[in-house]
Amino acid sequence: MHALPAAPAPAPQRQVLVGASLAVVAMVMLTGSMLAVWALQRREAIDSTGSWVPDGTTVPEVPTNVILIAFVGICVFGQWAVWSAKRNDRPHTVLALGCTALVALLVINAQAFVYHRMGLGVGDGTYAAMFYAITGMFMLLMIIGLLFTVVAAFRYIGGRSGDQEIIVSHAIYWYGMSAIFAAIWFLVYVTK
């Protein structure tokens, strides 16, 4: 048996950070592909029937604009958590994570409100099926993000305050989500 010299304990190499970044890449690909198919189907529907959104369906703009603004808040709160964690400012870190979770809940609530206002059944044609597919996927990603925030907060409250990597990864996740919603907002809610 050959003996290699032992190394010192390997330095942390930002595993959670890299994992979160890859997850964001996957999320962007997922939503990007869905938006691409959305744009294609929209163009074909307009070319053939002249309309895409079913008659009688109104896409509410106020709550969707509020969601977009809320994402600005989520990004600010996420970065606030990073800033505080790097300074070992425990109260502010926990407060920032709490605010992030609260606004994420607000987004989920606003999206549910959009569903309610539109009154669209999932079986009401191609638009409805695609609308619920893409926004449903967005809701799923929101719930995952909310869980991520809760886990990061509990780890921090539980005493792992030196582990700032998860706080940074958490912020990266929400930056990715913000970009994703900005694209959905433009294509699904503004361009319609």
Binding site: M1, H2, A6, A7, Q15
Partner: protein, 550 residues
Amino acid sequence: MTTIESSPEAVATGDLDVDAGDAVGAVTGIFTSTDHKVTGRLYLAGGLLGLIATVTINVLIAIERLDGTDVVLDVEVLPQIIDAQYVGLVFATLLPLVMAACVYAVPLQLGARSIAFPRLASSGFWMWFGGLVLTTIALIGNGGSLGGDADAVDLFIAGMGLMAVGITATAGAVATSILTTRAPGMTMRRIPPFSWSALVFSLGVILVMPVLVGTLAYLFLDHRNARTGFGGNEGIFVWVGWIVTQPVTFLFAIPAVGMLAELTPVVFGRRTPVRGILFSGLALIGVAALAGVTQQNIQNLPWAGSQLNVDDLETKVRDLVPFLLFNALPVLGMLLVLLVVLQTARPGDGSRFKFSPAALFAFFGFGMILVGMLGNMLHAADDLGLQGTVFEEATLVYVVYGAVLAAMGATIHWAPKLWGAKIDTGKVLPLALLGLTGTILAAFPMYIAGFLDQPAGVSYVDDDLAIWNIIALVGHAFMSLTVLGFVGLLLLSTRHDEAVGDDPWDAQTLEWATTSPAPRDNFVDVPVVHSAEPLLDLKTASTSNDGSNA
């Protein structure tokens, strides 16, 4: 000595501390284990089961094609059989077998104690397996792209989505491992070629599979409700057929190519020269991911022979650029890898030759994949009239069977680390030749039949085509024998009590610095790496010291 002692029993039980006789505990240990070697073995077992099923389906289709008009099988099940062939070749065979090698070998090669996110990797396997079971149930229940049962069609879509999510989860763990858990001193330029190919493959999967999942989500909701936007169940493969055809499958075969690059230096006892070119070649094959990202499978060259002139140059350039980008760049990547392999194998300069059955499998696999890639380039040319014929299926068979051969080579190579035994070299050699012959006989006649306009599917009218279909049946039968023989040898090898040694192949990379089989945490002390061939450094240093002492 930098490794810890271990025993096969200790490794096999996974996380739980159970008695060897406690069958329930052992099974629970396997189900809940986060050891990457256990997860890799599960992928291997699942992939081999999928391979046996897929090869059986291929034999059934070949029997059905013996006579182009008479129907041997029940006509009602033919659509499900065809679906099962494509899904089986890619999702039940190619992806799990390649992923298995990545999961069990990469952390060992990196000098890591564990894969990154081991629970994610393990849950990825179970999601893939669950998806495979659901897809199989759906196909049995008259589902699939031409199925007659609406619920079974929904189940088919959901099963494919679950498989895609599972494979993506495991790919995320593999990619993160390579990016973050390398031993000290192991820069990205120093990682072994197989690990590099695993990185390209994993990143490609992370880019491509979410695109599939998104489209499947649309298909599922549309099929379950309106069925107006995506063509119902017949539209399934119109929208997601790219995932089971070329060039995306090239992406999934990259680790199979990496196996040849990994094993050539072992056979010839020499350091890999021009690693930058080798890595570029492997990465160039990854360009095939573009076909997945853009959801395209054929980049047509719609020029008739008389139009091979410079008229309408702009249109022709527009056709040519995506064709070259999607199809020719992967071939260029393969040629670069081959160039480096030949450079490594050149005689002289202290090279030696130590036969490795794994390298033979990998070499045959590489050749088959290359033939599949070249066939795919021809397939794109409209003028040849190959689209809609069995030619496309033949390219898929070349790529998948080629990757299967390479995956068999990977299993033979790393078997000492997986269960502490070597697979009998003398018995494996005929299997390699049988597998090569089987692949060529199964696929090449279909190339010819494609040129003779045999349509895709199972029926044809021209009696002259029968001979090519008979030869293809023999090829698939040979492949069945290869697979069964290989599984039998694997099972026999696990019962071997003979000590295999820690470095039976006289290899160069870190996994051979630990015991055989590799213990639960791989390494007690993470070794320091000073070059791309850390074990070879040590052997060379030992030889020099011995010489100076003498």
